[in-house]
């Protein structure tokens, strides 16, 4: 682990030059995989994450089926080589927890009642990890679900907020995550409905309220990026040739 920086914010700029309310650069590619029913590749700062969706499909073993709705399954996994020290393949306690709350983040938006007895499987593979893989994974999963044509109330958009140098900031990068004072990953559906919320670190009640409000701003920005990716993919305008990924600077998305 690197050393803790003396300051995280100098003259209103963070270590990577962002403002406190600015997202890292985001690059989205829809349908990169053809076996899956839907898929999405996302580069979020230095994170590289692939999401795929299969379903609705038959659920085995049968005793796990729900007679009245589809079962959403969510598997977050880090590739062995996605971080500095190799990860032993297979589930860890961390990945099991992230998978559980990731699943919970989508239950509300997916119209599970349409597909009783089936499974809707969401797979997240972290290929390169910086910080914020669980929220970036949720964003990719949301688009992969849309790409698979799964009926939903709307997209889920996620980002983390945190506190460094005493200030509430949006979308923590690695150093801010490691040495910062708090980390609050949040996911929201339309209308600011919170479908995912965790928190680590130390915040006062008022700081936390400020953080939640900034998270709302962040999720709105993410939503615009997601929406634009879908439009460009599914409108005829989308250039199939050459570089087919959508790279967004935040300025573009904000317009």
């Amino acid at each position: 682990m690197s050393e803790k920086p003396e300051h995280f914010i100098i003259d209103g700029k963070r270590l990577d030059g962002r403002r406190v309310d600015e997202l890292r650069s985001v690059k989205i590619k829809l349908s990169p995989l053809d076996r899956a029913d839907g898929s999405c590749y996302i580069e979020w700062g230095r994170n590289k994450i692939m999401a795929a969706v299969y379903g609705p499909r038959e659920l085995h073993p049968r005793h796990r089926q729900n007679m009245t709705k589809a079962v959403v399954q969510y598997r977050y996994n880090m590739a062995a080589f996605s971080v500095s020290d190799r990860i032993r393949p297979g589930h860890s306690r961390r990945s099991i927890e992230i998978s559980k709350v990731g699943r919970d983040a989508f239950e509300y938006v997916v119209f599970t009642k349409f597909f009783p007895k089936t499974a809707i499987d969401v797979f997240i593979e972290v290929l390169q990890a910086d910080a914020g893989t669980r929220t970036a994974g949720i964003n990719a999963a949301s688009l992969a679900l849309a790409d698979a044509g799964i009926p939903m109330r709307g997209l889920v958009s996620a980002c983390a907020v945190g506190k460094v140098d005493g200030e509430i900031v949006l979308d923590l990068m690695k150093e801010e995550d490691n040495f910062g004072e708090a980390d609050v990953p949040v996911a929201m559906a339309a209308g600011g409905k919170i479908t995912h919320l965790q928190m680590d670190g130390h915040l006062t009640r008022d700081e936390f309220y400020e953080a939640l409000k900034l998270a709302k701003i962040g999720c709105d920005k993410v939503y615009k990026l997601q929406r634009q990716a879908l439009i460009e993919k599914y409108s005829g305008d989308y250039a199939e040739n050459g570089e087919d990924a959508i790279t967004q600077s935040e300025g573009d998305a904000d317009e």
């Binding site: 919970d104 509300y108 609050v184 680590d200 915040l203």
Partner: protein, 259 residues
């Protein structure tokens, strides 16, 4: 099948109660069941606490032994938290390695202890990069009467406050109390029919659309949160739970002066 029908009728009954602002056992929405904390009950452990929260009974035992630090944090002690939802505690629990639910409980309790900096981990380093104290927090659920997370959180910090560093046994100096400097308390609310209810009983927990836990410290600061369950929360609902949790935790923290 008739079990299911009975369960549904009971759910409707509880739901209608909540709409009238009432709970099955007469509690207010922000009212906890009786809590008792008995420490030192597991005599082979370095610290222990039996927490009774309504019908819920949880025994937390602390074991401590010397070991190696993690490579990326060579100068601090190690905390390992584990929860066992043993089949004794509920007809739904099965034997075998911890599942999702048990792992989440252990990780949320761990988060509260760790992020509140309740344990002074620097003081648990003996030789940097080589030898530190390893604290095992083992949460043993004996009877699941609902709201396991809060009972486990209360039991864990109670057991830690009761813990002795067993230095003599390992020829590493004199025994001393574990350096604990805060009392993080997890408070869990469920959302149900738009209402927010603290300390859900087992039956209430089954109704919950969402389970939301807030961990606060002695300074009323927040050091951990976890939302799970399928229903969303609004920012207002979240902040209401934060406020309810601060008040409830402060009351429970007073218990620790009695122990």
């Amino acid at each position: 099948m008739s079990d299911d029908v009975m369960a549904e009728i009971h759910r409707d009954y509880l739901f209608n109660l909540v709409l009238k602002g009432e709970r099955d056992d007469g509690r207010a929405f922000d009212e906890f069941r009786d809590i008792s904390i008995e420490t030192g009950v597991a005599g082979m452990a370095e610290g222990s606490a039996l927490v009774t929260l309504g019908d819920t009974q949880i025994l937390v035992g602390i074991k401590i032994q010397p070991g190696e630090p993690f490579p990326d944090t060579p100068d601090v002690g190690v905390i390992i938290t584990n929860a066992e939802l043993i089949p004794m505690a509920s007809p739904e629990y099965e034997a075998g390695p911890p599942r999702e639910g048990a792992i989440e409980i252990a990780r949320v309790v761990d988060r509260g202890i760790r992020e509140s900096k309740a344990i002074d981990l620097e003081k648990l380093c003996m030789i940097e990069g080589e030898k530190v104290w390893i604290i095992f927090i083992d949460i043993h659920v004996l009877n699941n009467g609902g709201n396991i997370i809060d009972a486990a959180s209360i039991g864990s910090i109670a057991a830690l406050l009761n813990t002795t560093l067993p230095a003599e046994r390992y020829g590493l100096g004199e025994d001393s109390p574990l350096p604990v400097r805060d009392i993080p308390i997890a408070i869990t609310a469920i959302e149900f029919g738009g209402e927010l209810i603290l300390d859900p009983s087992l039956e209430e927990g089954k109704l919950a659309g969402t389970v939301y836990t807030v961990i606060t410290n002695s300074d009323n600061g927040i050091s951990g949160m976890q939302k799970s369950g399928v229903e969303p929360l609004t920012i207002d609902q979240v902040m209401r739970v934060v406020d309810m949790a601060g008040t409830a935790a402060a009351k429970i923290r007073e218990k620790f002066l009695e122990v």
